[in-house]
Symmetry: C2
Subunit: 383 residues, 2 copies
């Protein structure tokens, strides 16, 4: 397999883009990434997206975007893995370049949650759950997160406020990210007082759904040429899965897919968790951040939330997470989120993260989850 | 890149499976393919599907299926390219094995069109067109095919009956396929008398939508072991694209993506079109068969339909097509169709095609289209 690097990144601001369509958002991100890579062509385009059909009535989305960005004719396919779609597309692009089939491959993660024509956004995101055994009973992702959080608090004798640090950190970091949906700080008091969504999950436990697109250009390391100084190497790209339905899992408080995917990634990259300088995790809900930190080996079982309490997760902490705002404050454009995470790690490893720069960042890990952890896709990047 | 072969195939009958869910159909096909491959494990699963979200409220489908088939934990991703999804998943699986990342990869194409909870099937298939410029105006796939067929008949001075041979051949072949949706012959007279769907496209120009699943197990040629005798080599796997919207294409009567994908495949496999012993084409409408034959170089422009008139497309003809019934009579389970095509070519190259066996079949080509040719995915197989 060939070594593969990121040579171009691009992103739109995450927000409610009422006046931009799927193809416009994708084009904006893609053209930025092409410019960043000093490239005028790619051999293939993989698009990560969950809901273009359900919400926008548009399938065959990758082909549509290939045409919209001025590359009619090239290979184009869409990858879907619920919220993990963007990271799934990055994984496929990695394999395509690693295989030797293509020299330049683009990844675009794009999602449009506003202006949905066919279905409410929350009902749509529920399609990440088991349609026959969860969603049809009305169990939304927030309700699943609530079940997990309630059980976790019971098992480990915590209160909801113990997870406030995740959201406080995310919002503090988003302040310095021009692409963030909510670039403003929040206090611990605001967290405690926030409106309840699905008890004990409140508004500030939850990442806001938004519209947005992020793009990445990959090439084999043999082709770096003028991009050598800014190239970010993909040291690992792994996917693992679990049961969709929480009730079918051996242990609902253990994200088995996240653990498996992370440990496969450590082996592939030949690094230990202690060597990870920053970890862009899937903070759709604070309980998922907690469980992801445990699954990836950064905390013992029942101790994940303590990392947020003790300041370990800030850009100057031991395990910086959500360094540009995370899903929580940069915003969560569902199937695009995994590509945003990779773009942000590239910014960190290039030293382009501004005020949120993690000092001497050399190894970054991104983990994107489908649903509440049924799919876990982990990438490790090095500079 | 490593050489890659098919070592296992499985399929369900295509029909209205009112009492089988997506996961049940997928499991049935997958377990057959595993048994055929003498395999008890794969490293990754790629699922081709267009409409599980829109029609079934189920996204994250590949992860669901990995669990349903008893392989919880493995890598799993869904690929979408409208009707071309199944072939797209096969392409991704091919790249994954060719790259060296995985030794055994499964492909499952699955679609469930009946028992849709959210949306009518025809409205759903319209999502293969451009949502903003075609589907929102009510233009269905049949209407797009009608525009093409009407123009083609005008340009080349043909009548609709000139395309009857495609459907007559498909139904004649389906008679000997136990998995076919409509295993009964039709006459040219029945074709002419068939109910009009979208003038000049009639019921017997059109492939019936159905439910079904087909599965394939791939491995690298180094791992063939006991499967050597039945292995079918993938000599080429290519994807090309065009504008979704017919109005945006340079020449609506020329399937540019189909041409590009086929010619890339000939180059990759180092074969000429004359060496293709059978061609499983995307006969969703007779006009698409006509145009696909021209795009792939089997007929001059304006002469594609003549192949059907002159008997060249029967299993004993010069260019056998739809040898097990094609989309037209085996049935068209949208995102699964591309996997069915590959399974049927494997049957032919193994000499397992029964009464429809193409004598001395050594090189088979499958081409799956997304929409009316916006995505074209071509595979060439050899034994």
């Amino acid at each position: 397999m060939r070594d593969v690097s990121i040579i171009g990144i691009g992103q739109t601001k995450v927000k409610e883009h009422w006046n931009k369509s799927l193809r416009q958002l994708a084009t904006e991100a893609m053209l930025k990434a092409m410019q960043d890579a000093h490239a005028d062509h790619v051999d293939a385009l993989y698009v990560g997206n969950m809901l273009s059909g359900v919400l926008g009535g548009q399938e065959q989305l990758a082909t549509l975007i290939a045409d919209a960005v001025g590359m009619r004719g090239i290979e184009a396919l869409k990858i879907e893995a619920a919220n993990g779609a963007g990271a799934g597309a990055l994984h496929m692009a990695y394999l395509a370049v690693a295989s030797g089939a293509y020299d330049y491959v683009a990844v675009v993660g794009v999602e449009k949650m506003t202006e949905a024509s066919n279905c409410a956004a929350t009902a749509a995101t529920s399609m990440a759950g088991d349609a026959d055994y969860e969603a049809m009973l009305g169990i939304s992702p927030a309700a699943l997160a609530a079940l997990l959080m309630r059980r976790y608090m019971h098992e480990y004798d915590l209160v909801a406020e113990d997870m406030a640090g995740f959201s406080v950190n995310a919002h503090a970091n988003a302040v310095n990210n021009p692409h963030a949906m909510f670039p403003r700080p929040i206090t611990r008091e605001a967290f405690v007082a926030a409106k309840m969504i699905a008890d004990p999950v409140n508004l500030l436990d939850s990442a806001p759904l938004g519209d947005g697109a992020a793009a990445i250009i990959l090439t084999a390391n043999d082709n770096l040429n003028g991009n050598r100084a800014t190239a970010v190497r993909i040291a690992a790209s792994t996917v693992a899965t679990d049961a969709l339905s929480l009730a079918e899992r051996k242990d609902p408080l253990w994200l088995a897919a996240a653990e498996k995917s992370a440990h496969k990634a450590y082996a592939q990259a030949r690094v230990k968790s202690e060597e990870i300088d920053l970890f862009e995790l899937h903070d759709a809900y604070t309980i998922l951040s907690t469980l992801a930190l445990e699954a990836a080996g950064f905390a013992e079982r029942g101790r994940g939330a303590y990392l947020s309490r003790d300041g370990d997760i800030t850009p100057r902490g031991r395990v910086p997470v959500s360094t540009m705002g995370g899903l929580k404050a940069r915003g969560h454009p569902v199937g695009a989120t995994g590509v945003y995470q990779a773009v942000e790690i590239a910014q960190q490893l290039r030293g382009q993260a501004g005020k949120n720069q993690v000092a001497n960042a050399r190894v970054g890990m991104a983990q994107s989850l489908g649903g509440v952890g049924a799919t876990a896709i982990t990438h490790i990047f090095t500079n």
